[in-house]
């Protein structure tokens, strides 16, 4: 990296927050996937003004800029695959204001999701979106990927809560959108354009989120099944029964066992599927009745056992287990490709059957878990990156999973985003016209392709080798 840029960056953020030593560049080279590529330099500014100044420097030096929060993403969205400047927003970690009169919170992009939730819950308020990574993910990252989570079934995803944004544009200008109000029919909804834009249109530095009252009670239950298909049929039956559960999560037999190895949460190891059912609300009797009706439906589909959590501690343990599923899968194989497909609720049984068939066809373990209630499933293909033959089979399995979801009327990603992992499939999902419009928007806001270049859009290299072409420190993956 050129020394001039390093000293100019240091002048903006301070010497201690320019990360350019050999080991430091390694530390900003990865995300929550297996991909890895060194940036030229990383910086951690502490204010919107500093972010804007860094963007201006990047533009002047013609260096791409890759914004990140905790870099726990699962789609490769923050991998600096062509080098450049990684800009960490982790130090913008102040909750600016919790406004109880306007029932909203304003926070820096680097505030950790769970810390924001804890802070508002102390005042009886509730921020529902709860990605499994909420312990580490940042609000800025949640906005950039339009993050979801189990509770989004009932309460909606990140985009449904964003009412104000501060964004640094590729020009270095600071754009403020929205405010402390929830209705807004004034012009284009530009704010929503930045939600889920994965750092390709602007860098979100501050967010205002609407809140709702914290539900007074929460009733949680589990239903275990000897057959995965019984569980998926139960999901469809519950969703068609007139109940809107707070959460309706599915784990298959493999995920149950791997998370038990970590936590000993008391999940039934012998079961082939587990549903985690929850209802919340203001009235305990109503919530309990909903949960009991859901349990009845499960028993009607052949559940082995249904069980209502007896205490808050038991409930917390169940949720801790659910959140640990994705990373705990690393106990089985060194690498995993965590997919994030969505299908219409009624197609859940068909999708789960398709995943089973794909796993058998390509001879790969593909455990499934996810937010079954809203049709968002996480089939995780487990493999070893060092095995070229396996990598090739993973590519085919991923392709087949995407195509099965599309055929059932679904989409590629419910909450992880596109990043590098799904970009080659974007056109198959959205069609050429939608991709063309998206490119036009990107060009209008970032004409020199400064912000997170290459992400989200098809590279033109095609589907074959899409995984093997992704960067690792050893070069491209074997294959």
């Amino acid at each position: 990296m050129n020394a001039a840029l390093a000293s100019e960056l240091a002048a903006v953020v301070g010497d201690a927050y320019v990360h350019d030593a050999p080991s430091e560049i390694i530390a900003y080279s990865y995300d929550g996937t297996f991909q890895q590529h060194r940036p030229d330099v990383a910086v951690s500014p502490s204010s919107t003004e500093q972010v804007a100044a860094v963007v201006q420097l990047a533009a002047a030096h013609g260096m791409p800029i890759i914004a990140r929060g905790a870099s726990s993403g699962l789609a490769g969205g923050t991998i600096p695959e062509t080098g450049g400047i990684v800009l960490s927003l982790a130090r913008l970690n102040c909750i600016v204001e919790i406004d109880t009169a306007n029932v909203c919170v304003t926070a820096g992009a680097g505030v950790v999701t769970l810390q924001l939730q804890d802070a508002v819950e102390k005042l009886g308020l509730f921020y529902p979106p709860d990605p499994a990574s909420s312990r580490q993910s940042t609000i800025g990252g949640n906005v950039a990927t339009n993050a979801g989570g189990p509770r989004c079934l009932k309460y909606g995803v990140t985009k449904d809560y964003v009412i104000g944004l501060t964004v640094v544009l590729a020009s270095g200008e600071v754009l403020k959108l929205g405010g402390k109000f929830t209705k807004n029919a004034t012009g284009y909804q530009l704010m929503q354009l930045f939600v889920g834009s994965e750092g390709t249109l602007g860098i979100v530095t501050e967010v205002t989120l609407r809140l709702i009252p914290l539900p007074r009670v929460r009733v949680t239950a589990t239903a275990s099944f000897g057959d995965l298909n019984q569980a998926s049929r139960s999901v469809s039956a519950i969703m068609g029964s007139g109940i809107l559960p707070a959460t309706l999560e599915l784990m298959d037999g493999t995920t149950i066992n791997v998370v038990e190895d970590f936590l000993n949460a008391g999940l039934p190891r012998e079961a082939q599927a587990l549903l985690l059912l929850e209802q919340d609300g203001a009235d305990e009797a109503v919530a309990r009745r909903d949960v009991e009706r859901m349990a009845d439906i499960c028993r009607g589909q052949g559940a082995l056992e249904t069980r209502v959590a007896a205490s808050a501690a038991e409930r917390n343990l169940l949720w801790q287990a659910r959140r640990a599923v994705s990373p705990a899968l690393a106990r089985i194989r060194p690498n995993k490709l965590g997919e994030d497909i969505v299908v219409p609720k009624s197609e859940i049984p068909a999708m789960i059957a398709a995943i089973g068939a794909i796993a058998r066809e390509h001879d790969l373990p593909i455990p499934v878990f996810g937010h079954a209630g809203d049709g968002n499933l996480h089939p995780n293909i487990l493999f070893d990156l060092r095995n070229a033959d396996e990598v090739q089979r993973v590519e085919l399995a991923a392709r087949d999973i995407f195509r099965a979801a599309l055929q059932l009327g679904g989409t590629l990603s419910g909450e992880h985003g596109v990043g590098t992992l799904k970009r080659e499939f974007l056109e198959e999902d959205q069609g050429p016209l939608a991709v063309q419009i998206s490119r036009a928007i990107k060009h209008a806001l970032d004409p020199t392709n400064l912000l997170n270049p290459g992400k989200m859009f098809p590279t033109g290299r095609g589907i074959e080798g899409f995984l093997a072409n992704l960067p690792t420190l050893a070069g491209v993956t074997p294959g």
């Binding site: 430091e24 996937t33 990373p327 690393a330 060194p334």
Partner: protein, 402 residues
């Protein structure tokens, strides 16, 4: 190391990440750096050593890691590999001296005796006022030194109490600087129906050596302890969380020696053993608002969480309060606070401010490092005491309570 899938669940558990928000100062970054070195993508550069050495080895990250990474084990292994490549490796004479001091509890006591003489003879006053300590760069170390008691515990096979046999591991610091607490440990164990024995031939546990990259020395100490306790089969009890974590890891340290795993399986923290023996209502109350300072090497490395709480809750008059950020290290971490004073002090300040926010009058912990670290950071109105001393006050007659 391959187990780390970079999910980042560890970030918010890591004291140095929480302080700096820097990826290279967090567990995921450190593992990526180690892996890059091992796989040949990175040399052991001074900056790499700096970020790896700044790890407290508190194991909070391992505790929350869903994929089962064992950070302390990795960090220790890396320090052993890297110890030859350090630009400023401590001179041979210094390392030999450390070996002599810690290699034998008798030698350790002799040095502690000299320090006691230094504290009481007026030499300390003189040294402090002459600025000698600053000159010798010993100011930090000297400041943390507790006032040494009049007599030390010398394990010679002494037996106390009657009942189930429990062998007491006295440790270097706990048998000298905290000799009173170690005596009380035998007393409290006896009150809980144990026959305690201060087993002869035991030496320092080796944790400090291991964390400093001197794994061979640590293995030698482990072999001597395994031999000393080899005849028994009952629990080996320690009142220092750091020692307990180390002793429980002998099986990993000496994988080829089946006796090491057997030894490790016998090791219990004093709170673990006492809580398992079902505390009865003690005869005396301890009236105080209390917070428990979870030692990292108890909570994270040994996963002992409920046992000390159960013991404290059984004491009448004692009100146990919740401590925010209880899983974040106090910055002591063995001798980390001496090697990295800036980070050690920042963590101590954070911990003390959390403690003061609770309104507690008494902080209870089970590790000498935490005791010294917090005593040096809290106002005098807030006492910091070992859990055994609190239990002694509740369970033992006043005459035997120090």
């Amino acid at each position: 190391m391959l187990r780390c899938i970079r999910c980042a669940a560890c970030l918010t558990s890591c004291p140095t990440y929480v302080l700096t928000q820097k990826e290279e100062e967090g567990p995921r970054g450190r593992i990526a750096i180690m892996r890059a070195v091992v796989e040949g993508h990175l040399d052991i550069t001074p900056d790499a050593l700096q970020h790896l050495d700044s790890c407290l080895l508190c194991d909070a990250c391992s505790h929350v890691c869903p994929s089962g990474v064992e950070m302390e084990r990795l960090g220790v292994a890396f320090r052993e590999v890297a110890s030859d490549q350090r630009p400023r490796r401590p001179p041979l004479a210094e390392r030999a001296a450390m070996g002599w001091v810690f290699g034998d509890l008798g030698n350790f006591r002799s040095v502690a005796g000299l320090l006691r003489f230094y504290q009481r003879s007026g030499l300390q006053w003189l040294a402090r006022h002459l600025g000698l300590l600053g000159l010798l760069r010993l100011r930090d170390m000297e400041r943390f030194l507790p006032r040494l008691p009049g007599r030390f515990v010398v394990p010679r096979g002494q037996i106390q109490g009657a009942g189930d046999r429990a062998e007491v591991f006295a440790g270097c610091i706990m048998s000298t600087a905290f000799a009173d607490t170690t005596e009380q440990t035998c007393g409290v164990l006896a009150a809980f129906g144990c026959e305690t024995r201060l087993t002869q031939g035991q030496v320092c546990c080796g944790a400090l050596q291991l964390h400093a990259g001197e794994a061979e020395r640590a293995r030698e100490l482990a072999r001597r302890n395994i031999a000393a306790f080899g005849e028994g089969s009952g629990p080996i009890v320690t009142n220092a969380a750091g020692c307990g974590a180390m002793l429980k890891h002998y099986g990993q340290l000496l994988p080829e020696d089946p006796a090491a795993a057997t030894f490790s399986a016998r090791v219990k923290d004093v709170s673990e053993l006492l809580a398992a023996r079902q505390p009865t209502r003690p005869p005396r109350e301890v009236k105080a608002k209390v917070v428990l300072q979870d030692a990292c090497h108890l909570l994270h490395a040994q996963r002992v969480d409920e046992a000390p709480r159960r013991l404290l809750r059984a004491i009448p008059g004692l009100e146990l309060l919740d401590l925010p950020e209880r899983d974040i290290c106090c910055g002591s971490a063995g001798i980390y606070n001496l090697l990295h004073p800036e980070t050690g002090e920042a963590l101590r300040a954070r911990k003390c401010s959390n403690i003061l926010g609770t309104g507690a009058e008494l902080v209870v912990t089970g590790n000498p490092g935490c005791l010294l670290q917090l005593r040096s950071g809290l106002p005098e109105a807030v006492q910091v005491r070992h859990i055994v001393d609190i239990l002694a006050e509740a369970y033992l007659p006043p005459s035997s309570s120090a």
